[in-house]
């Protein structure tokens, strides 16, 4: 399958070249650091909600945990911005790797599950604690499974690519 020429065009832009090749400490590794911190916030806060729904720290009142969604969204937007910059730096590397699409799909599902938990468990103020846990249990299990898959798919991107750049097979 031919690699679309537009990837080459993106790679030749100034911002792509700078992120990829600049020796500055604020280039590639800086963005990658943000991507790791964003993951910690996004997935870490999700995991805390999931574990609580599954019965960890039962004495902890559930409804104030809604506040963790603020951290989830901060993490999510850090991931969107830093991820977009990493994609601009290495479009061919990411977009020619099937694993990249698996990762994005899993993230989509995981974020949708977290959103559903918010809607069904946290927004309905008529529910008591045990009803909240009942409603959230299955969703929490799926959230943990899919986040694990998403993180794994993301981590494996560094080891499974076919092209590093448009003109450079990895």
């Amino acid at each position: 399958m031919a690699v679309p020429i537009i990837f080459k065009t993106i790679e030749e832009t100034g911002i792509s070249t700078w992120i990829r090749d600049s020796p500055s400490i604020f280039a590639y590794w800086f963005i990658l650091s943000f991507h790791a911190i964003g993951m910690g916030l996004l997935v870490g806060a999700s995991v805390v909600i999931d574990l609580r729904l599954l019965g960890v720290a039962k004495d902890l009142p559930l409804s104030p945990l809604k506040g963790l969604y603020r951290i989830i969204w901060i993490g999510f937007w850090i991931q969107i911005v830093s991820g977009a910059l990493l994609l601009i730096a290495y479009p061919t590397k990411a977009l020619t790797n099937p694993d990249f699409y698996i990762k994005l799909t899993l993230i989509g599902f995981a974020v949708a599950i977290m959103h559903t938990i918010r809607k069904r468990v946290f927004t309905d103020s008529a529910l008591n604690e045990s009803e909240m846990m009942m409603k959230g249990k299955a969703l929490a299990v799926w959230s943990l499974i899919i986040w694990t898959g998403a993180v794994t798919a993301g981590r494996l991107l560094a080891y499974t690519y076919n092209y590093l750049k448009y003109d450079y097979r990895g």
């Binding site: 993951m39 910690g40 995991v47 104030p64 603020r70 986040w147 981590r155």
Partner: protein, 321 residues
């Protein structure tokens, strides 16, 4: 100062520290004083933590000595091997001590779980005695590198060193050469550990700092073991990375700073979340503000763990070619 200084300075800590902590532990058991038990368990954990850089810096010392014909390679390998075995035992002692220490930090709601069980303390005692012996072997073999005159020749000591050296080589082979998938799987686990650390410690720390104030503090403490599990996963996978490519990590300044940061983050975790120090905060109910000292501890924990993530990502940047 170079890394050999670091090794010579750090390596006395596990050897003497284990003996001192063991002595204190025996006294605490004999006098049945909970404060002393707690102090000695915390000491074991602290020694386990600082044994990580002690072991790692040995690689730097080895690199300097290995091309010098005045030093025997066999002596160096015997030391490396016995140091690895002693290291594994102090880590095990530290882990079992931490689980015991955990009981002391439990909230008053579970009074029957306030202190560790007798068999638990006995397990720490047995492990600590074994570790002391192994530390002595590691110390002696280390001394023999510079003082061939004290060498006693083949014996049980060299059998331990030999076994440890072969184990180190086996681990290196497993991590680097056995399959191209071992390293990526370890990286994946390392990231999952990171998520548990940030999730569990982060949730508690942001509450202390004033977010989600409607949460009472004591039950949030139940997430700490999940963070400790993440830390444990990352120590194991991190050590495997190091043993796979010691030559890559040892001279890397970014890696060295990361290790230093993790020591500080580990001490923060140990002293404030795993001892009875936390009991001073457990009465914090919904809506109540944490005292300033608790906020400083929480903020420094967050900063240190985030710094560890950033430094980890910058390790390739610090590669010495």
């Amino acid at each position: 100062m170079n890394l050999i200084h670091v090794h010579l300075w750090l390596n006395h800590l596990p050897i003497l520290g284990t003996l001192i902590a063991l002595a204190l532990f025996v006294v605490s058991l004999a006098s049945d004083r909970d404060d002393l038990k707690q102090a000695s368990l915390a000491l074991f954990v602290m020694i386990a933590l600082f044994s990580i850089p002690a072991y790692m810096s040995g690689n730097a010392a080895q690199n300097v000595l290995k091309d010098n014909p005045n030093y025997s390679m066999e002596a160096i390998q015997a030391h490396q091997g016995s140091a690895l075995i002693a290291f594994l035992f102090i880590e095990l002692t530290g882990a079992v001590s931490l689980m015991g220490l955990w009981r002391f930090s439990r909230t008053e709601k579970n009074p029957w779980m306030e202190r560790p069980a007798k068999w638990h303390l006995l397990a720490v005692l047995v492990l600590a005695i074994l570790t002391s012996g192994l530390m002595a072997v590691a110390g002696n073999t280390g001394g023999e590198i510079n003082h061939a005159e004290i060498a006693v020749g083949p014996g049980p000591t060299s059998a331990i060193g030999d076994f440890g050296f072969r184990l180190a080589n086996k681990v290196q082979h497993l991590v680097v050469d056995s399959s191209m998938w071992v390293w990526p799987i370890l990286e994946d686990l390392h990231f999952i550990g990171l998520i548990l650390i940030i999730g569990a410690f982060g949730a508690l720390n942001v509450r202390v700092l004033g977010m989600m104030k409607r949460l009472p503090l004591a039950p949030l403490h139940r997430f700490i073991p999940w963070g400790i599990a993440g830390f444990f996963i990352n120590i194991v996978t991190g050590m495997l990375f190091f043993m796979g490519m010691p030559g890559f990590y040892t001279p890397n300044v970014v890696f060295q700073i990361k290790m230093f940061t993790i020591m500080l983050a580990g001490l923060n975790l140990l002293l404030f979340h795993c001892t009875s120090a936390f009991r001073s905060l457990e009465h914090l109910g919904p809506g109540e503000d944490a005292p300033l000292y608790a906020k400083i501890v929480a903020a420094s924990s967050l900063v240190l763990w985030i710094a560890a993530i950033v430094l980890g990502r910058y390790i390739p940047f610090g590669e010495v070619s």
